[in-house]
């Protein structure tokens, strides 16, 4: 673990851990709502904020928060209308966002390709103390919303109409979730970059739900996997000198595959074992057997 004797590696690790915890926590709601790829779109929009920040020599992170929050609210309004023309509106927003961002970065005095690449694919090794402070504050906001409001956000993501008949402030909660998505994207921008942020929102959740039975458990396991991927990715990137953002995402995808394969092997093994023993089958009271899915 000698790489962590360098301060910049420690800062990279902390920043990545913040991302590893927040992105899956928020992502659990997006996956529940079957909007897994919305985070990717918000990431595209955030690039315009980065461009504006660089061009005006203000904080690219602050500008990214503001622009992506505005974009996320627009996306939520399109979703709320729920019409087929919504797809086109989202395409305009997302591709307008990323091309606007590339365009603005090109106009700024900071227009190196390396700089653009850093925002698109992450550059955790350049995390400054100030970056870390901003990430910690924004990350705390994301965790407060996703953890403290879980029952309410679960309700609106699971069954929006029922939530409305329960008298919940559905619209306000939807907008809050949208803005929190934007904040999460900005938190993750340093560690994995705007084009890979969605991976950390979705892949740990997909991994977790292979083995979990409930929502709360899925969120907890996804956050644990996100933390492991972040730490493992930074360690591997520092040790083997690979691209850190991409390495973190590859570790996350690797853990998905390991769990999927492990589960398949385990199921095959148990099936072989039950076949050898005569089935003690518990009859499922009055239910047609084909609709009672096998539990493992």
């Amino acid at each position: 673990m000698s790489i962590f004797q360098y301060d910049f590696m420690v800062r990279a690790l902390i920043g990545a851990l913040v991302t590893g915890a927040t992105a899956p926590a928020l992502g659990t709601y997006l996956v529940q709502r079957r909007l897994a790829l919305i985070g990717d779109g918000i990431g595209h929009i955030a690039l315009t904020g980065v461009g504006l920040g660089l061009l005006t020599s203000t904080s690219p992170v602050l500008a990214a928060v503001l622009v992506s929050a505005a974009g996320a609210i627009a996306v939520e309004l399109v979703r709320e209308r729920g019409r087929t023309s919504g797809d086109i509106a989202l395409a305009l927003l997302f591709y307008g966002g990323i091309s606007g961002g590339v365009f603005l970065v090109g106009l700024s005095s900071d227009r190196t390709n390396a700089n653009l690449m850093a925002y698109l694919f992450g550059s955790p090794l350049t995390t400054s103390e100030q970056d870390l402070a901003v990430m910690a504050v924004l990350g705390a906001v994301v965790l407060a919303v996703t953890l403290l409001l879980r029952p309410w956000l679960f309700a609106i993501c699971h069954d929006e109409e029922y939530a409305r008949v329960s008298g919940l402030p559905v619209r306000a909660l939807n907008l809050l979730l949208a803005v929190t998505t934007a904040v999460t994207v900005t938190v993750a921008m340093r560690a994995v970059g705007l084009l890979l942020v969605s991976a950390l929102m979705v892949v740990p959740v997909a991994t977790a739900q292979q083995v979990t039975r409930g929502f709360r458990a899925t969120m907890a396991v996804a956050m644990a996997i996100g933390l492991l991927a972040a730490a493992g990715g930074i360690w591997a990137a520092g040790t083997y000198d690979t691209a850190p953002g991409a390495t973190i995402v590859l570790v996350a995808i690797g853990s998905f595959l390991v769990v999927a394969l492990g589960l398949a092997a385990w199921r095959t093994a148990t099936r072989a074992r039950t076949r050898r023993q005569p089935a003690t089958g518990q009859p499922s009271t009055g239910e047609p057997p084909d609709v009672v899915l096998t539990r493992w």
Binding site: A36, F154, E161, Y162, G214, T218, G286, P288
Partner: protein, 256 residues
């Protein structure tokens, strides 16, 4: 706070007109439901039954007409803890597993203050709702692993968890196995026994027949019968059937 209207109608819907886009689906529909009534809304598929109950709950916009719940105009109604809704089916399905208990607990939020942690009373209400539909032993199972009938019972438990005074159920027994129908009828009987009011959309009443106090038949977006429960053998869509309109014009004058 909701204005109590002890003894007054639970639902007053007057001259409702609803359309989806250009196509009108409800034409000038009136419906009044009084406390402790068990009203069955009957009719063929596509006749507008779901639209009617969804309009009463404010889930579809009205072109014309007005709705009062517990005496309060829908727009100003805040007493949602008094209402339990069981939708026809559970949306598109969730992308993340949820346990039966997690789903049923979400029905308690109408009685749980915002950001307030659950109290013992909340947990007891969820336990009681699970027991009422016979799913206490499945509380920790993912909803997705239950049969269709058990999933429907989960939705009923979710509505019961809020300890409502009015239950609005949209085809709770459609395509449901016999065990679940029986469990459901039992839960409803208990609810009615303590004075609960029920609006029940159904295609066929089946085991629920003895509980129903009044039937409303919807045919092509109009109410063609309102009164006694029609005999089971397909005569209920008969437009010659007795018309009973409990809210006569003099009642309508109470509206401003």
């Amino acid at each position: 706070m909701t204005v109590r209207n002890e003894g007054g109608p639970v639902i007053e819907a007057e001259r409702l007109v609803v359309s989806y886009g250009e196509r009108p689906v409800l034409h000038d529909v009136d419906l009044t439901v009084r406390p402790a009534e068990v009203v069955a809304i009957l009719g063929a598929n596509g006749s507008g039954k779901s639209t009617l109950v969804r309009a009463v709950l404010g889930l579809v916009p009205l072109v014309l007409g007005r709705v009062r719940l517990f005496g309060t105009p829908l727009r100003r109604f805040t007493g949602w803890q008094r209402v339990g809704y069981v939708p026809q089916r559970l949306g598109a399905g969730s992308g993340v597993p949820a346990t039966v208990r997690e789903l049923v607990s979400s029905g308690r939020l109408s009685r749980r203050g915002f950001l307030r942690p659950p109290r013992a009373a909340d947990r007891r209400a969820v336990d009681a709702a699970l027991a009422a539909v016979g799913l206490a032993d499945r509380a920790g199972d993912p909803v997705g692993t239950l049969s269709g009938g058990q999933q429907q019972r989960t939705l009923i438990a979710r509505a019961l968890a809020g300890e409502p005074e009015l239950l609005v159920l949209d085809e709770p027994t459609a395509g449901v196995d016999a065990a679940s129908q029986e469990a459901f009828a039992g839960a409803l009987r208990d609810f009615v026994a303590v004075g609960g009011t029920v609006v029940l959309v159904a295609h066929e009443l089946g085991v629920l027949q003895p509980l129903v106090t009044r039937a409303v038949v919807v045919h092509q977006g109009r109410i063609v019968h309102d009164g006694a429960v029609p005999r089971p053998a397909g005569h209920h869509a008969d437009p010659d059937h007795d018309h009973v309109h409990p809210h006569a014009p003099e009642e309508a004058r109470r509206w401003p």
